[in-house]
Amino acid sequence: MTESQPTVFVVDDDLSVRRGLERLLRLAGYRVETFTSAREFLARVAPDGPSCLVLDVRMPEQSGFDLHAALAARGRPLPVIFITGHGDIPMAVRAMKAGAVDFLTKPFDVEALFHAVRQALARAP
């Protein structure tokens, strides 16, 4: 792993989704770090270099929106791609308004994800 490799953080409570995404993104050449919950992510991550966040909306305890809001509050905004198993238009609108790069409904098209990731990394500081 080199410093130049952008990092994709994945936060999802579902193990198989995490593992699938990890494999897929790693094959695409990204550095991937996965977290099972918002809390774990907040505790461990201090993003360094280009990075983005693939974030599940519905999770026990803190939702994806909560995490997004918390990051914003810390003044370290990270480009975020929301993924959700049960999405509707109000939720998508809410995500976009909060500054999300994209809002993908599970199961999503892989190319759409890569596109969103590229977009996000482009936005990344």
């Binding site: 409570d13 579902d14 198989s16 989704v17 593992r19 699938g20 995404l21 494999r23 897929l24 094959l27 695409a28 519905r58 999770m59 026990p60 305890e61 939702s63 993924i83 198993g85 049960h86 409904t105 599970k106 199961p107 999503f108 892989v110």
Partner: protein
């Protein structure tokens, strides 16, 4: 009858008085024949003895009649003798006084003045009538005769004393015994005894005539009268030993008459002596022989009577034990015959002529004749004269008590005569058992008097006790038959088929419905009738693997051996048109012989209603499940999307992986493993959904409630995530299995959990906590509780939340909890709701471990 009886009694008294009159007159003339002028007293003087006899036989209040009756005879006889009237009158007074002394003395001293059958009675008679009465009366007699006839006082006194003593001694016992035995007629002596008596009489006469009326021979007087009496004495002893005091008395009389006749006619051993000198020793000799002879006879009689009494006592015991044995197990309806037999035996044993058994009628107000016996001879005699007691008689008078009688009543001696009826002797014993007056036993002797000794009364009480308990049992039997008749009428009217089994399982009775049962409703016992063995048939069918017969057999056997208080079974019968349902019930027969009552009742209507209700409930439950699933749609989509996403991303990764030049097989394996895992996960979601929605027949099976709750939790887990609710399971790891239908119980748990989550959403509490607990409140139950952190229940809604169409939700139908309740109740459980002390509500249900199968 009373007036006629009184008339008859007066007639009898008058006849007796006339008899005394005639006897006195004849006796006086006979006495004159034995008189040796110039001596006024006779050698034997029967009139006094006749008068004494009359007074002994008659009650004292009638004595004056006999004394008056004797007066004309006395005057007629003695005035003819040419004596002065004054002497004749004084002699009447002395004769009467002698009879009165004798009768009074005997009556006063003797326990039975008319009997000579014990030593005591004979001794009393000898002292009072033979010694004292002549002794006293002779003073006056001798004084009168000495004054009027100028005869020597002591000579007269002595002649009269001995002659009267001899007469009393020889005549009175014979006459009294003849009179009292005569009234005991018509029971004659046995033929052998009659022959013996005739032989004895003839031999005594022959010997007496030969000895006392033969030609006088002076040489025979060695040892004055030894030889002739040595000839006669054996016969006298024979009479005394074999015929008692009566025989002795008669033999004495015969001997006395013959010897005196001989002596006064110059014949026999004393014929050579002057009359006045010869008679006196003869009298003394006769008296001295007579007294020991009479005593001997009395002793022998007493002994014989004691033996008789003993024998009689034994015979009575025999009778009593036979009587009691023959009644002890006799059914009520066979008692009439037994009563007749035993009244006859009792009558014959007691030598009475009538025995009547009275019983109070149904209302206990009237005495009615239950059974009667009369000596055939007496009955004929009375029937001929129209005097027989019949059932129309005033029996209440006869037994002297009438209901309502308060037992115990004392036996009554001779109630007939007290009631003014002409019954010579009778005896009444009340019959009572258990403090209830049941009737009376009446014993009567219409033809003669008899005594009722205390010993006899004691015995009769025993007899009465047996009759009373027999009557009581017959009464109880009748009551039982009446009530049994009523019961069988009730049984006959029942639509249920009823059969009664004995202890061995044989059918002893069936009702009409059992017999009329339509043949198409064939069950295992349909063709069994009375006499068939139900248990054996069941056993046979059970061995032929008829399932209902096996169950029924077990039940019937348990009830018959007392190990079960009752047994019930519902079963369906194949029918061409539709199933019919029956309820079989077996209850023990409440009697000491044991047994059971089996009934089959057609419960098809109820069963159909139940089945219809159950079907509606099931349909409704299914419908609400579909609604619930609709509510869960979003959550389910999430639940499915997770594995699908996993599959998709992994599959894409694999696809890309294949393009990489260096193939890492291990990684590929890992990817495929994840794909398979996710596909299974998705399949599980679909399967759970299908299971939950399934409309299959409910089936009861052992269920692990913990596993069931975990499954439902999975079903709602996405919903919980969406709603941001934390679900915690607090499950008792040792929870026993319950019996129930999995789909229905899942529905209940799901319903409670969804309700809880909805309530949490409405609540203000930040915790968003849902806890499902399981535990065992006791060894027979398990409890499932669903706690939420919602706003809790409104106090006024706790009662209603389980009612149909009650809802607090805006979009709810209000069916969920009502269905939940019907499911839990069908499982034999209860469901309830309370508020949690720490906030929120707790819904719980409790299921029994040995639960009824889900309907």
């Amino acid at each position: 009858m009373t007036r006629e009886a009184a008339g008859f009694r007066e007639f009898r008294t008058a006849a007796a008085a006339l008899g005394v009159c005639v006897g006195y007159y004849v006796g006086a003339h006979f006495g004159f024949l034995l008189r040796f002028p110039p001596m006024t007293p006779s050698v034997m003087w029967p009139p006094n003895a006749i008068l004494t006899t009359a007074l002994l036989l008659a009650p004292p209040r009638h004595w004056w009649i006999y004394l008056f009756a004797a007066l004309p005879a006395h005057l007629a006889a003695e005035l003819g003798a040419g004596w002065p009237t004054s002497l004749v009158l004084i002699l009447f007074v002395t004769n009467c006084s002698e009879a009165l002394f004798a009768a009074c003395g005997v009556r006063w001293l003797s326990d039975a003045p008319r009997r000579f059958d014990t030593l005591r009675r004979v001794v009393v008679f000898i002292i009072a009538a033979v010694i004292v009465a002549p002794f006293l009366s002779s003073f006056l007699d001798a004084a009168a005769v000495a004054a009027v006839q100028r005869e020597p006082y002591w000579s007269v006194w002595q002649t009269r004393l001995f002659s009267n003593a001899l007469t009393e001694l020889t005549i009175v016992p014979a006459l009294v015994i003849a009179a009292t035995r005569g009234s005991a007629w018509p029971r004659p002596m046995s033929l052998a005894r009659t022959v013996e008596a005739a032989c004895l009489g003839a031999l005594l006469l022959i010997a007496g005539i030969a000895v006392f009326t033969g030609s006088a021979e002076s040489g025979t007087l060695s040892g004055p009268m030894g030889t002739p009496f040595a000839v006669v004495l054996p016969f006298m002893l024979w009479a005394a030993v074999r015929f008692g005091p009566g025989g002795a008395s008669s033999a004495l009389l015969t001997t006395a008459l013959l010897s005196i006749w001989g002596a006064t006619h110059g014949r026999g051993p004393l014929g050579t002596l002057p009359i006045a000198e010869g008679v006196l020793p003869l009298q003394i000799f006769l008296i001295t022989i007579a007294i020991p002879l009479m005593c001997l006879a009395a002793l022998i009689e007493e002994r014989r009577r004691a033996d008789d009494t003993l024998g009689e006592r034994l015979r009575f015991k025999q009778i009593l034990s036979n009587l009691s044995a023959s009644f002890v197990n006799l059914p009520g309806h066979s008692m009439d015959g037994a009563f007749e037999i035993w009244l006859r035996r009792l009558g014959e044993f007691l030598r009475i002529d009538h025995v009547l058994l009275f019983e109070f009628d149904g209302e206990g107000k009237e005495l009615v004749v239950a059974s009667t016996w009369a000596d055939p001879e007496v009955r004929h005699r009375f029937e001929d004269s129209g005097e027989a007691p019949t059932q129309g008689e005033p029996w209440h008078q006869l037994v002297l008590f009438s209901p309502p009688a308060e037992p115990p009543l004392e036996p009554v001696r001779d109630p007939g005569s007290r009631a003014g009826l002409d019954i010579r002797s009778s005896f009444t014993i009340p019959l009572e058992a258990g403090g209830e007056a049941l009737g009376a036993l009446w014993l009567g002797k219409l033809t003669a008097e008899r005594t009722w000794s205390n010993e006899l009364v004691q015995r009769l009480r025993l007899v009465a006790g047996i009759f009373a308990s027999a009557l009581a049992r017959r009464k109880a039997d009748n009551a039982l038959r009446t009530s049994e008749g009523m019961k069988s009428a009730i049984l006959a009217s029942l639509p249920s088929r009823v059969a009664v089994l004995d202890r061995e399982g044989r059918i002893i009775a069936v009702n009409e419905s059992w017999i009329r049962r339509p043949s198409e409703e064939a069950t295992w016992d349909a063709r069994l009738g009375v006499g068939a063995n139900y248990v054996a048939t069941c056993r046979h069918l059970a061995s032929a693997a008829v399932p209902l017969a096996q169950v029924a057999l077990a039940g019937v056997e348990r009830v018959l051996d007392g190990s079960r208080a009752s047994f019930a079974l519902e079963y369906a019968c194949g029918d061409p048109v539709a199933d019919r349902w029956f309820a079989m019930s077996v209850v023990p027969l409440n009697r000491h012989q044991g047994g059971a009552v089996i009934s089959h009742t057609d419960v098809t209507e109820r069963k159909r209603a139940e089945i219809d209700a159950e079907r509606s409930r099931r349909d409704l439950a299914h419908f609400t499940r579909r609604t619930t699933i609709g509510e869960l749609a979003a959550s389910l989509a999430h639940e499915l999307n997770q594995p699908l996403t996993g599959i998709l991303t992994n599959a894409e990764a694999a696809e890309r992986f294949l393009h990489v030049t260096r193939l890492d097989r291990d990684e590929l394996h890992s990817i495929m493993g994840d794909v398979i895992q996710d596909a299974k996960r998705a399949g599980d979601v679909i399967k759970r959904l299908r299971d939950f929605l399934g409309k299959g027949e409910p089936e009861a099976m052992p269920l692990d409630l913990n596993a069931l709750i975990q499954g439902v939790t999975k079903l709602v887990s996405s919903d919980a995530v969406i709603r941001n609710v934390t679900v915690t399971l607090d499950l008792d790891p040792n929870l026993p299995l319950v019996t129930g239908d999995s789909v229905q119980l899942q529905q209940v748990v799901l319903n409670l959990m969804l309700n809880a989550m909805e309530a949490i959403g409405e609540g203000e509490c930040a915790a968003h906590r849902l806890v499902v607990r399981t535990d065992c409140p006791d060894t027979e139950k398990v409890r499932v509780a669903v706690e939420d952190s919602g706003p809790g229940l409104r106090d006024d809604s706790q009662e209603q939340i389980f009612e149909p169409f009650f809802t607090t939700k805006r979009e709810g139908m209000g069916m969920g909890l009502s269905i939940a309740r019907s499911i839990i109740e069908a499982h034999g459980g209860v469901i309830g709701a309370t508020n949690n002390a720490g906030g929120g509500a707790i819904f719980h249900f409790i299921l029994p471990l040995v639960g009824a199968p889900a309907a």
